[in-house]
């Protein structure tokens, strides 16, 4: 029995010696290649759908989409249609349609194209985005001046309300506008390939074809146009689905730091 044990010990020692012939590599390279999905993400803006249901004076729909080009860069765009009726209240009966100084309806379509740049460093397995982006946007639309009154601080001839304008229901067609948009947004993968997103947009008007004797006060896709200002703000809340087309390995980042040693390994 002892002889058996001793011979076994020798065999085991030899095995240990053989195993120790090479030094243990403590900084071994990770050979598992991490691949990320690339593809086309398409969806719809939930806020425009919701507001269309909730408000009588608005109908709108916006499709959103992006196509991943590189690790951080996406080709992105929006396509939409909006119709909004706006009343400017100043008459005697505020909160009533009759109290509006004038009321108009803007209706038309827009397209926005540009890029999104993801600034968020995802952890393993994550496909989220916190991005900044730019767009060039173009809209064609028409405006209808539904009704209007003549603003006059003198109430001698019309003591009760403003006088009604002569040409009601004027339609101004063939209008267009283009603008640049700065986008800040977020997209989070809530379920496999299903993304929820939100973005805020700051638009800067480049061209704006105003109708004769009226002004474009609302441009589809751009939102409210303020007097003597070229800026506009907008937002969307999107839900989109990623159609994965291919997978590509994540390129290693140059500035990625090696793992820091813990300050108190005992604890």
């Amino acid at each position: 029995m002892s002889r058996y044990c001793i011979s076994l010990l020798f065999i085991l020692l030899a095995t240990v010696a053989f195993g120790q012939s090479e030094p243990i590599d403590l900084n071994k390279k990770d050979t598992v290649i991490y691949k990320q999905p690339y593809g086309l993400r398409a969806g719809v803006d939930l806020s425009r759908v919701l507001v269309s249901f909730l408000e009588d004076n608005y109908t709108g729909l916006e499709f959103v989409g992006d196509y991943r080009l590189t690790q951080k860069l996406y080709l992105a765009g929006e396509l939409g249609n909006e119709k909004k009726t706006i009343g400017i209240p100043l008459g005697n009966e505020i909160n009533d349609l009759d109290g509006d100084l004038y009321q108009f309806t803007a209706s038309g379509s827009y397209i926005k194209l540009g890029i999104d740049y993801n600034t968020y460093g995802n952890w393993y397995g994550e496909q989220n985005m916190i991005y900044v982006g730019g767009r060039y946007a173009f809209a064609t639309f028409s405006q209808t001046l539904d009704n209007y009154n003549i603003f006059n601080t003198n109430r001698y001839w019309n003591p009760d309300d403003f006088a009604i304008g002569a040409l009601q229901n004027q339609e101004f067609g063939g209008l267009n506008a283009s603008w640049l948009e700065f986008v800040v947004g977020i997209k989070a993968e809530m379920f496999k390939n299903l993304y929820f997103g939100a973005s805020a947009r700051l638009g800067f008007l480049i061209t704006n074809k105003d109708p004769e004797n009226f002004r474009n006060l609302f441009i589809p896709g751009f939102n409210k146009v303020t007097d003597e200002s070229k800026f506009g703000v907008g937002y969307n809340y999107s839900i989109s689905y990623l159609i994965p087309l291919y997978k590509k390995a994540k390129e290693p980042e140059e500035n990625e730091l090696p793992e820091q040693p813990l300050e108190n390994p005992e604890n």
Binding site: I88, L90, L101, Y102, T119, Y120, W123, E126, N128, I130, V132, Y148, N149, I150, F151, N152, T153, N154, Y156, W157, N158, A163, I164, G165, A166, L167, V184, I186, A188, F196, A198, S199, A200, N213, F214, R215, L217, K224, T226, D227, S229, V233, G234, Y235, Y237
Partner: protein, 180 residues
């Protein structure tokens, strides 16, 4: 907003990453909502429908202002005269014109004594030009191609009317000169 979000995300060692992302998402949604609410006021301060300025001159010297004694001006509608238009001076008056018609009539009363009351009817005709001014003010009216006529009766105190400015855009200067 963006940097705030970014720093939020980089509290990695403390909170689970996905949870952090969701917190950031909620914060950003709230911020986006508050961001879209910043808009300029829609109060009208820069435009108004102008009124007509009439100045009274001496018929013997057409450069001299001449007071109309106890001048009273009323607007006339087919249904009858309206209230007196208040005037600050006797040698001029600022009167509103109707925006919904192409002419407005006024009764101009000169009273020299208790018994000597002379009422002349002045009719101003014009073209109504509706002009869109701004978001807050909407449309105002300018009057163009101004014409003034005095209804002839037994005793007319207004000798002559002259249009000095045929386009009424503001009340800075007189539009109609009345000689008496």
């Amino acid at each position: 907003m963006f940097y705030f979000l970014y720093s939020f995300i980089h509290l990695r060692p403390f909170v689970d990453n996905m949870k952090n992302f969701k917190i950031g998402l909620i914060v950003s949604l709230t911020l986006i909502l508050s961001f879209s609410a910043c808009e300029k006021d829609d109060i009208c301060i820069d435009a108004d429908t102008p009124r007509l300025v009439i100045r009274f001159y001496d018929v013997t010297d057409t450069t001299e202002f001449k007071d109309v004694q106890n001048l009273v001006v009323r607007g006339l509608l087919p249904s009858g005269p309206k209230d007196t238009i208040p005037n600050a001076a006797l040698d001029s008056i600022v009167i509103p014109l109707r925006t919904d018609a192409n002419e407005t009539s006024f009764a101009l009363t000169r009273q020299l004594s208790i018994d000597d009351v002379n009422i002349d009817t002045l009719t101003i005709s014009y073209e109504v030009k509706e002009v869109f001014k701004s978001r807050g003010c909407g449309f105002i009216v300018n009057y163009d191609a101004l014409q003034a006529t005095v209804k002839t009766d037994d005793s007319v105190w207004i000798q002559e009317t002259r249009i000095t400015t045929p386009l009424v855009e503001n009340t800075a200067s007189a539009h109609v000169k009345i000689l008496h």
